[in-house]
Every structure is written in structure tokens, then in C-alpha cells.
Symmetry: C2
Subunit: 221 residues, 2 copies
DNA sequence: GATACCATTTTGGGATACCAGACCGGTGTT
DNA sequence: AACACCGGTCTGGTATCCCAAAATGGTATC
């Protein structure tokens, strides 16, 4: 059995789900025992997760990357550049009917939907929207950005009002894309990303003490 | 001795310098012998180079990534997005004196300068310009893009006229940045990137037969 | 002569043994 | 009580072994 991908997947899942706290130390031996794999696949997983920014070298060893407010702000700028570029490409497409699939994705969330699902769909909206551009690099950039933002976004998903607002903005963006109005879509997406960032950073800065109490490392901006 | 980084560095250098042809098969054992390292650091190197796009899985084994025309075109779009975003940030800075350092870098190339140096400085121009934005993600995006483009750019550097043109465009961009004219700088950078891409893709498509004869895999757009 | 088949070799994936250096805790000294 | 020292333990880095699967090449058959 190829345990390599399994270790990587499981470890990523634990990190993204905050089952292992940001800033926590990791030893190859612990991972080895935890997932019943040997060091070769463990090391492969760590190397991959390092490039995703989920894990970092900590001196000689490893640790789960802390949540970094300065990094979140920089990612927002990066996201804005790549997502807007992807969006403009998509608006220029002759066939933009694929937005309906994304719209349907949004509709699949209602009051009975668990938090986890909202969290996932909220990210997938951006990822799938970027995929429509058919540009592999823009797509990957968005996907990787969302992975890096994923842990911090658990906070936003706890705020009912923020969630409703995000969904409304998502729908508005899709509407503009459907019409092929690149300028309007870009404007909406930009303000959505900037707004998200502001709410996220504010909320993280406020919760910082509480998060640290739970053992989560949160680095200031 | 930490041979891990050494293997990675040396292998990357051979690949970027076309000492190992695009599309060529690689075996872990060959690398092992070639660099006198054992398989663990070899695997680490391969995993890292894979994320850089220099090496790809080829069935069960590994091979040097072929030069892919479709990929080059997509990277150009991606580059345009991130480089322009970085440039706008830089233009908004109060202190833009760092452009002088980049200007000096360009000036360091004259008729006696070896091809290799022109090649490196041509890439470093874009990388260092992106670094000025002080956004780590935009910077990395540009750096990684240039790495991916590096091999294909060996062709452009053989064309004296193209080189002169590129340098002129580089200088014009710096001049606009120095004035803080973001719109003009963005316009110049965009057309520089688009122009580079067109010349590169055209020239590659023309040389494709010759490159293949040298054993270089070149995938069509 | 082409092709299907089988034995051998080779390959990457995984496991394990070993090492040098960092880290930690206790002890003895001041 | 504070601090310097020292020995054991733990960790990541490396080398090496083993294995299953895939590639290879030769051979017999049609």
C-alpha cells in the first residue's frame, strides 16, 4: 500500500482541522507512530506540507506553522491579484455556463448544513471560480492561497452574519460573471477579498489571547 | 555534511543549464551515483524540484519536465498578474530609491558579458523588482515563474536584438517606477511580458525540430 | 518475421540501523 | 541559591536493506 499519500493527507487534515495546534512541535517519530508509517513516507509528507506552508522547519526539527497575521494580509494582496486575473479571463470566455455549477454549490448550504461544510464550500467557491479561467497557474495560486488561509477561516465561519454577507457577495460576483461584466465582477471580487481580510485580521487580533490560551501560536502583523 | 541541499542545488543547476535535457528520464540510482549521495537526500531533492516544476513523475519513475509551450503561455498570464500587482505596490511606496540598485544591475552587462550572465540578470531584474513590493507571496510567485521559464529563455538570450530590446524595456519600466507612475509602469511591464512571451513561443515553435533532434522534449501548445 | 510469453533485472517505495549534534536534567561547586 | 558542568536521551540526517511491481530482453511459437 502507498502509505505516503495517506500520511500526507491525514497529517494535512489534522493540521487544517486544528487538531494539531498552530505552533505545535512535531517530531518525525511521533508522526511515524501516530499513522503507523515509517520515516520515509513521513519525511516525504513533511517536505510536501512544508511547500504548502502548513509545516515549517523549527531549528533542527519541525513544527506546525503558526497563524501569521502579517502573512494573512500579504496573501490577501496576492489573492486579489490572481483571483481578479482569473476572473477577467473567465469573463472573456464565450461559454460561461459553468458558473451555474458554482452557483448550485453555494445553494447547497442552508441552515442545517454543518459548519465544516460552509467552511469548505466557502473556499471551493474561490477555487472553482479560478479553475474556470483554465489557467493552471492562476488556479494553483488560488488553491494554495486558500489552503494557507484555511485555518484562520475557521473563525469567520463562526460568525453567522459574516457568512451571510460572504454568500451574498459570492452570488453577486457570479451574477456579474454570468453577464460577462469583467469590470463589475473584478470590483466586487476585490472588495470581497479586502473585506474578508479586514474582518479576518480584526477578529484574529481580538481572539488572539483566547487562541493562545488554547495553545495556538498566533504571530502578530 | 548536509548533502541534501547540495544534491538539490547541483541537480537543479544541471537541469536549468540544460546539461540534462528536458524530457530525459531520471533514476534515483543514477542521481545517487552521480552526486555521491544516498537515496534519502536524492528523494528530498526530487520532491522539492517537483514542486518547482523542474522534474515530474513519469509513471512510476521520474523525468526532467519537458519544455511545454502551453505552459509557457499560461505562465506569462500568471506573471503578468503578479508582476503588475507587485509593481503597483512598489510605485505606491514613499521610498523607491531601491530601483537604482536594479538599474545598476542592468548596467553591469555590456558586450563582454557572457551569455550566462545576461540570462541571469534578465531574470533577476524581474525577481528583484518584485522583491521591492515587500510582499513575500508576489515575490515568490515571480521567482518561481522565472525558474520555470529559465530553460526556455536560453533561446532568447541568443538573439542579440531581442536582448537589446528587453534591456531598453527594462530601463523604461524602471524610469516609470522611479517617477511613481504606476499606470505607465504597468502598461510597459504588461507589454514587455506579452512581447517576451510571443517572441519566446514563436522562436521555440520554430526551433522545435532542432531541439528535439538534440534530445530535448518540447511539448506543443 | 512478428508476436506472445516468461525469467531476469531494475526501479521506486518502505523499513531499519546507525550516527552526530542538540537538548535536558541532575549534580556539584561557588 | 545560582550557576556551570556533564552524562544520558532524543532528534533529524544518512546509509543500507528488503520488497513488490514494472520494465526488459530473450526465446519459443505461430
Amino acid at each position: 500500500m502507498s502509505q505516503m499519500q495517506s500520511v500526507e493527507k491525514q497529517l494535512r487534515h489534522m493540521i487544517l482541522g486544528l487538531e494539531i495546534g498552530p505552533g505545535e512541535k512535531l517530531t518525525e517519530r511521533w508522526i511515524e507512530n501516530r499513522f503507523g508509517a515509517s520515516r520515509t513516507p513521513v519525511r516525504a509528507a513533511l517536505l510536501r506540507l512544508e511547500t504548502e506552508g502548513l509545516v515549517s522547519r523549527d531549528g533542527r526539527g519541525w513544527s506546525v506553522s503558526p497563524i501569521n497575521l502579517a502573512e494573512l494580509e500579504q496573501i490577501a494582496v496576492y489573492r486579489e491579484a490572481v483571483e481578479v486575473a482569473a476572473l477577467r479571463l473567465t469573463c472573456a470566455l464565450a461559454d460561461r455556463s459553468a458558473v451555474d455549477v458554482i452557483e448550485a454549490m453555494l445553494e447547497s448550504c442552508d441552515n442545517d448544513t454543518p459548519r465544516e461544510e460552509w467552511h469548505r464550500v466557502g473556499m471551493d467557491f474561490h477555487i472553482e471560480l479560478a479553475r474556470l479561467s483554465a489557467n493552471e497557474f492562476l488556479f494553483r495560486a488560488v488553491r494554495d492561497s486558500m489552503t494557507r488561509l484555511s485555518r484562520a477561516r475557521w473563525l469567520e465561519v463562526r460568525d453567522e452574519a459574516a457568512l451571510a454577507r460572504a454568500w451574498a457577495e459570492h452570488r453577486a460576483i457570479l451574477a456579474a460573471v454570468r453577464l460577462g461584466d469583467a469590470e463589475e465582477a473584478a470590483r466586487l471580487l476585490t472588495s470581497h477579498i479586502v473585506g474578508s481580510r479586514d474582518r479576518l485580521v480584526t477578529s484574529l487580533a481580538n481572539d488572539r489571547r483566547g487562541l493562545r490560551a488554547r495553545g495556538f501560536a498566533v504571530v502578530a502583523a
